[in-house]
Amino acid sequence: MGDFDLSVIWNNLPFLWQGLQLSLWLTLLAVIGGIILGTGLALMRLSGIMPLALAAAGYVNLIRSVPLILVIFWFYFLVPLALGRPIGGFYSALIAFVMFEAAYYSEIIRAGIQSVRKGQVHAGQATGLSYWQIQRYVVLPQAFRNMIPILVTQGIILFQDTSLVFVVSLRDFMTASSIVARTEGRLAEMYIFAALVYFTICFAGSLFVRRLQKAKTA
């Protein structure tokens, strides 16, 4: 076992920080995109319109039965083909994550919408609101309030998942750590450091979720 050389981390800090920024951006944008698309899928499933409900259910079940890595490979292959030109690794990855996470978010959001009591919908109808007005002003605001802790938890999982862009060599924090580890020949230091960074961020996130849950039940 060689001596631990911490200077390798210090010397490459700007490079690693760039990687971490990419990971955080990817997480943030994928969470936003995933929630928007997931809400759409959830509304389709609960719309009561058979073809829409079936299409959404089919999509969600398909995505949920394949590994994320395969979905990333799919979109790296499909996106440039569909657009007829390459759009860069970041956007291909972002599309893959949005499409993948939307399936998981839609299940969370569907449960959240169903947790809003039927009486609320009836009250909306009695007041003369349209279907969309009921969703927009009555159901979704309450549903999202109930869901915030689970949505954040899913965000933490998504942040961990972004490390998988390693398979297409997109330079996130994981790929950056791996590049430094190989070029400097310091595998132990770099991967332990990467684990510490991920752990710190995710553990802090889960403590935050616990506080949210307490605030909700209080």
Partner: protein, 238 residues
């Protein structure tokens, strides 16, 4: 969209063999890791609910540690870092003589990671049994071990069958991460076929269909299992 379709490519040359071999490795990793995850996960999950404070803390630490580091990082730690930080002789053996290092590492890494998720289900199951039955067992003079053996575990294991089957599906999907340390499982094989033949659409479709079939099969088995393990009156919808 410009694309030359050629579904026949999947049955040409050695490519079908690659896919079959990939499926074999996916099953080999997922099933072995599942056994490890069940064994460790049950121990850790039970440990978190024990009255002994140090044991419970240790088990909580295990869960937090393994849940908050991405699986990919954990695999790299087992594969690249472990041989460096163990005693020299063992490290040398792991690098040179350990049979099938990618497979062994993938099973250990995936198994211990999934164990933290299994532990959470086991803990939730035990907590769901409720304090009343535990008190009743103690009032009857049961020891802690007897309370777990005859009251808590038989009920909680049946309660957690549905979430555990979803973990079982997850382990199949997560086994794809083994490709990052060079194990040619299903996803890796389809990627390799895509690179060799430029028929990405066909190659990825084949892998997707196989994963969906695995998921459907597991769901059917799960539903049968859930039917037989359901406790009447216990899992009723509220």
């Amino acid at each position: 969209m410009n694309y030359n379709w050629n579904w026949g490519v999947l049955f040409e040359g050695e490519y079908l063999g690659w896919l079959i071999s990939g499926v074999g490795w996916t099953f080999a990793v997922a099933l072995a890791a599942w056994v490890l995850a069940l064994a460790v996960g049950v121990l850790v999950g039970v440990g978190r609910t024990l009255p002994s404070k140090p044991v419970a803390t240790l088990c909580t630490a295990y869960v937090e540690l393994f849940r908050n580091v991405p699986l990919l990082v954990q695999l790299f730690l087992w594969y690249f870092v472990m041989p460096e930080i163990v005693p020299d002789d063992l490290g040398r053996w792991m690098k040179r003589d350990m049979p099938n290092p990618e497979y062994v590492t993938a099973v250990i890494g995936l198994g211990l990671y999934t164990a933290s998720r299994v532990a959470e289900q086991v803990r939730a199951g035990i907590n769901a049994v409720g304090p009343g039955l535990t008190s009743a067992a103690y009032a009857n003079g049961f020891s802690t071990a007897q309370t777990y053996r005859y009251v808590l575990l038989p009920i909680s294991f049946r309660l957690i069958v549905p979430p555990m089957t979803s973990e079982f599906l997850t382990i199949f999907k997560n086994s794809s991460l083994a490709l990052t340390i060079g194990l040619l499982e299903l996803t890796a094989q389809s990627q390799q076929i895509a690179e060799y033949t430029f028929q990405g659409f066909e190659a990825f479709t084949a892998a997707t269909v196989i994963y969906v079939v695995i998921a459907l099969g597991a769901t059917v088995i799960a539903q049968t299992l859930e039917k037989y393990t359901r406790i009447p009156g216990y899992v009723g919808k509220d």
